[in-house]
Symmetry: C2
Subunit: 275 residues, 2 copies
């Protein structure tokens, strides 16, 4: 369980080689998940699996749920602590968009127990870079964590400075949607608000979990369209994903925020998941 471990599994076999005919390469024809591993297991696996199920329905992709669970369990045990990146693709095919009649889903898992993010981000908060790359509208694919991620690559390529741990991404109409690798929450007029993702964006596992936990505590998270000015007027801002939990946002452009008490509550809720 100690020492650095990196391991790659392709359909259950240790290898570093993907057949060049794989449709994941050709068309981004697949889905992925990034899963935190704690104490030799993946506490949020069932939620990642639910998102894969939604994605597989939309993409008409066969989900090898049992084999995936075995892969994840095996890798998580090997890692102890760390993360698993899981990719599903539609497998190999001939040239052409048509889905092969005999398509067999390819399972790819990368495991690593290296430390991921500095602890200061959660403690002291992060600055957001204001990305100019806009998210296009595509309700068919919105919310899914599919392999067509050029928008995120381009948004993330806009800054190199380590002053910014994350970047804010808006949609074509200029409304804040999410960050490049995490979801956005704002404290507005005494309530939590998170952007509607029906046109674009990734519906994060931690986002859904926090929405549920807030409700269980008697609160409520509004899921709705948010304007840029509204974001700037928020009392507290935070971003979240299932790897790092919650990061307070302390700066966007000229606007500065203190790390507020409601954000600290959200951090506690997120941390409970991994206890």
């Amino acid at each position: 369980m100690s020492g650095p471990v990196t391991l790659t599994l392709l359909n259950g076999q240790e290898t570093d080689c993907l057949p060049l005919s794989d449709r994941g390469l050709a068309y981004g024809d697949g889905l992925f998940e990034t899963i935190r591993v704690v104490g030799g297991s993946a506490p949020l696996w069932s939620r990642h699996l639910q998102r894969l199920e939604r994605g597989c329905r939309t993409l008409r992709l066969t989900l090898p749920a049992e084999q995936l669970a075995i892969d994840v369990e095996r890798l998580a045990r090997r890692l102890g602590e760390g993360l698993i990146k899981l990719i599903l693709t539609r497998g190999s095919g001939k040239r052409g968009y048509a889905i092969p009649a005999n398509a067999e889903t390819t399972r790819i898992l990368f495991g690593s127990n290296a430390a991921v993010y500095p602890a200061e981000h959660a403690e002291q908060g992060v600055r957001l870079f204001a990305c100019e790359t806009r998210l296009g509208h595509q309700p068919l694919l919105a919310g899914l964590k599919h392999l067509n991620r050029l928008e995120q690559v381009l948004a993330r390529s806009e800054w190199q400075s380590s002053d910014y741990a994350e970047g804010l991404v808006c949609d074509l109409t200029g409304q804040p949607i999410e960050c490049t690798m995490s979801n956005l929450f704002m404290r507005i007029a005494g309530a939590w608000v998170t952007p509607d993702l029906s046109q674009c964006g990734v519906q994060g596992v931690m986002r859904d979990l926090l929405i549920e936990r807030v409700q269980q505590e008697g609160g409520f998270v509004q899921v709705r369209t948010v304007g840029y000015d509204e974001l700037l007027s928020a009392d507290e801002v935070m971003c979240c994903n299932s790897l790092f939990g919650v990061w307070p946002v302390i700066q966007l452009g000229d606007r500065h925020w203190p790390v507020g008490p409601f954000t600290r509550q959200m951090q506690s809720l997120a941390k409970q998941v991994y206890l």
Copy 2:
């Protein structure tokens, strides 16, 4: 030059194996081209290269133009007749959207001299399936032949019957944009019209070539937004790409078209390319 040849080159080496860390797989972080080979060479290579240049500028991807030209020339000579599918990716990287400082573009070429499409499609015309999958709007990526192609995969998955050789795809507002693997031209009020691709769609090499050739012959192709009803009211309809040239469209839903004289002219223009 005779007999079936299929060949795959990765950075100039014959192999069937891609490193699993390639960002083409992870994010569809790359571009592709499908290039017709005639008489041992690729007559439209310079046009494919131009589109790659445009794509590389947008994606901030290094274009290994000289090595690509060598790869294509070598493969075309081996094939004699057929096609080359070329993929460029940003190469291997660690987890995360950020572009690695030392990113090296990966060149992948698949060659095949197998026959591609039945000659009857060009002679007798094709029926279009009316796809329900809509193209989202993303001006940043519109026109490029990038590896994020889930929309095309989903559109093409809507029909299996060989009655339809192609499918019409509209944008979110219901306006015709293109077919799943080709561009669309319509003869309306005595002139050729092809849809504007500034919001979505792939700017085909054969589309651009036909626009130029029509102009050289003293004609004009209007590039503009086209309504669905306008498409149905067209006198002639055709689709084109650089592999099959021009296919007359003879049916979409209840609407039937004869194969008209202007479409035959366009077929002649397309064929001249490969003489």
